[in-house]
């Protein structure tokens, strides 16, 4: 029988985990359900970065990690990688989604109308201190819309294309089955655009914001205008493997953003608007606006890190960047010992040089 090690190391990690759980108290299923109800934007962020739509699991992940979002994202990703890939969904027709918010900064009014929708954008950022003591009394039922929602909401970008300000949309000839999948094919640079958008979709909100913001502040020379931001509920439609019938597997919260940059030379050699695009699971406007700017910035020729594809996509991967950061907590005494050896050698050399009066 093999010698099975259960020594100090294993006991230590078990105790450490137990202490962590004890300090963070137990959570009950009701708490997990409350998280799902009351913290949708938090869960959206976790699900977007975790690239898995599962609000109940995301709530569980947040509860289980005490709200440590990088850990929660890792939990979702690790769970996701154990799940079989049953099918690829049909492309979402984002024109006919159930759109609840859709705004454009480019024009005062747009075909299909500006839809302000649910947002805190124009709220006063004051703490509702009274609500910490007693339940919120101020809740008013939202007013019903005076007219029904449009079945399809046109794109502002279509208008640009109709007027010739933007290059016509070239259909991607890649058959759906051959679109590279970031989770199955390694990301190599230059990356196919599909993988680039996939990487942005599951990128770290904070990381994308930092690099996107660098571009906005001038490290990039793009002058973007938010063409559109959409928040919606999208049907996940799947083709039945036997009957071939397309059916709805459910609905996910989905958001997308488009920015336009001015004065880039288009394919016809004339200046034209260029479109930057990003989309993700869940509603996460900050991330998408930054990501869609990075999408256009990554085509710029000058090699500034903030708009170099490899730099942007490698450094905004939440699981990889956070994992590598905390890995420095692991013991490194072999490497450090080796470094000390090299340092001592160099110091001895310097001393001997001093003695001999060289250098």
């Amino acid at each position: 029988m093999a010698y099975v090690a259960t020594r100090g190391g294993e006991r230590a990690i078990q105790s450490a985990e137990a202490l962590y759980r004890w300090l963070n108290r137990q959570y009950d299923p009701g708490f997990v359900r409350d998280l799902e109800t009351h913290l949708p934007y938090l869960l959206d962020r976790v699900m977007g970065e975790g690239s898995l739509w599962a609000p109940e699991l995301a709530a569980l992940a947040v509860a289980q990690t005490g709200g440590d979002l990088y850990e929660a994202v890792l939990l979702l990703r690790a769970y996701r990688s154990t799940q079989p890939r049953i099918a690829y969904a049909e492309p979402i027709d984002s024109g006919s989604m159930l759109t609840v918010r859709r705004i454009s900064a480019a024009f005062k009014d747009i075909p299909g109308g500006q839809i302000l929708g649910p947002t805190l954008d124009y709220s006063h950022r004051v703490l509702h201190l009274q609500n910490s003591a007693k339940p919120d009394q101020s809740l008013e039922s939202p007013e019903n819309a005076r007219s029904g929602a449009l079945a399809t909401i046109p794109y502002v970008a279509d208008w640009h294309r109709q007027t010739g300000l933007m290059q016509p949309l070239k259909p991607d000839p890649t058959p759906p089955a051959e679109i590279p999948d970031l989770t199955r094919d390694p990301l190599l640079f230059p990356a196919p655009r599909a993988q680039r958008l996939q990487a942005l979709a599951r990128s770290d909100t904070g990381g994308v914001l930092a690099l996107g913001y660098a571009n906005m502040r001038g490290y990039g020379g793009i002058h973007p205008t938010v063409n559109e931001v959409r928040l919606a509920y999208a049907q996940v439609q799947v083709k039945h493997p036997v009957t071939g019938a397309v059916f709805s597997a459910g609905r996910v919260r989905y958001s997308q953003a488009e920015v336009v940059t001015k004065f880039k030379t288009g394919a016809d050699g004339k200046p034209a608007l260029e479109l930057g695009f990003a989309a993700t699971l869940g509603w996460n406007e900050v991330k998408l606006i930054a990501a869609s700017m990075l999408d256009t910035a990554m085509d710029l020729p000058e090699p500034h890190p903030a708009h170099t594809e490899e730099f942007v996509l490698s450094h905004t991967e939440p699981v990889e960047s956070s994992g590598f950061c905390i890995h420095y907590k692991l013991p490194h005494y072999v490497t450090f010992g080796s470094d000390l050896d090299a340092l001592r050698k160099a110091r001895a050399q310097a001393e001997s040089n001093e003695r001999e009066g060289v250098g």
Binding site: P186, I326, L330, V334
Partner: protein, 324 residues
């Protein structure tokens, strides 16, 4: 009469050895490719596993793709089987693959390690999996992986040599610590993972297969058995392993194996064998297999390492270091 439930396989939450069959198949193909092109970094998809990236997920995926019920697995971190991260990985592999585990390097069929190669010579039937944080040996001179791949394609390693030249000019000694770059099979420059220089020669003409895998950077590569692995060294400034002559293990008195230095109050140090299972065997006076370095610290392949001199740079290089 049997019920349906009895006849059916019981439902399992996870596949054998955690990874699903597709992931394992991809990994095995990439491993074969890596073995076919020694030292070449093969990109792979790299699944998320229930460990943080940077904590051995690359090594773990390779181990999980290779492990079978008859394997005996050893996991080490910094030479120590009992280090918390080694214990955690071993616990996970044992739980997911139902394999025997061991601390004995000679008893294991599969060894996953972070930053060390055991002191005892590994056999042809053993596989060593090294965890790799940074697979790109050029990253210290060329941070872009895209450009580094081009340099590899052209075997254009001038920058790496220049780095050593610069070291020798500025410090008159090579400042590389662990993870000393090596040229594999005369073709690819390879990061041997942050093993100490003491372990670097162990890869040269080894009898065992070494697989190296970086989960975060999604690259795996291999040193097949009997492959030449040579550290980058100028012909007149030989590569040198860590100089630990005179260091003796505080418990056993063993010398000339890789030691960990432990600081003591008052600026003193004591030393401990880094290979914890070697230390266990030495302390219990158990049988120890052949080692890469003998008791005098001589490497088992004669002439591969230059004879160690005083800790300052050799004098014939010294003459040419002058600035006139």
């Amino acid at each position: 009469m049997s019920t349906l439930a009895e006849l059916a396989f019981s439902r399992q939450d996870y596949a054998y050895a955690f990874l699903d069959a597709f992931a394992k198949r991809e990994l095995r193909r990439k491993i074969l490719k890596a073995i076919a092109i020694p030292g070449y970094q093969v990109p792979y998809a790299s699944r998320e596993v229930p460990m943080a990236r940077g904590w051995g997920t690359g090594g773990l995926q390779v181990t999980l793709a290779l492990v079978g019920p008859k394997d005996t697995v050893k996991v080490i971190d910094q030479g120590d089987d009992d280090s918390v991260n080694a214990a955690n990985l071993r616990r996970f592999i044992a739980r997911m693959a139902g394999v025997k585990t061991t601390t004995d390097a000679l008893e294991a069929s599969l060894i996953q390690s972070r930053h060390r190669i055991p002191e005892e010579i590994l056999r042809p039937d053993q596989i060593l999996v090294l965890q790799v944080p940074v697979p790109e040996p050029l990253s210290w001179v060329e941070p872009s992986y895209t450009r580094a791949r081009e340099l590899h394609a052209d075997a254009e390693y001038g920058l790496a040599w220049l780095g050593i030249y610069e070291d020798l000019v500025r410090y008159r000694s090579n400042t590389h610590g662990a993870d000393y770059p090596v040229l594999v099979n005369g073709r690819y420059l390879m990061a041997p993972s942050p093993i100490p220089r003491w372990d670097t020669p162990k890869l040269h003409l080894a009898q065992h297969l070494t697989l190296l895998s970086a989960g975060r950077e999604k690259r795996l590569y291999a040193v097949p058995p009997h492959t030449e692995v040579r550290p980058l060294e100028f012909s007149d400034v030989p590569f040198a392993v860590e100089d630990q002559r005179g260091w003796a293990d505080a418990q056993t008195g063993v010398q000339n194996k890789f030691m960990t230095e432990i600081p003591l109050e008052g600026g003193q140090s004591r030393y401990q064998l880094s290979d914890s299972d070697y230390a266990r065997k030495a302390a219990l006076r158990l049988e120890i297999g052949a080692t890469y370095y003998d008791d005098q610290g001589t490497f088992y392949i004669p002439g591969f390492l230059a004879e160690r001199k005083a800790s300052v740079a050799p004098s014939h290089a010294e003459q040419s270091l002058g600035t006139d």
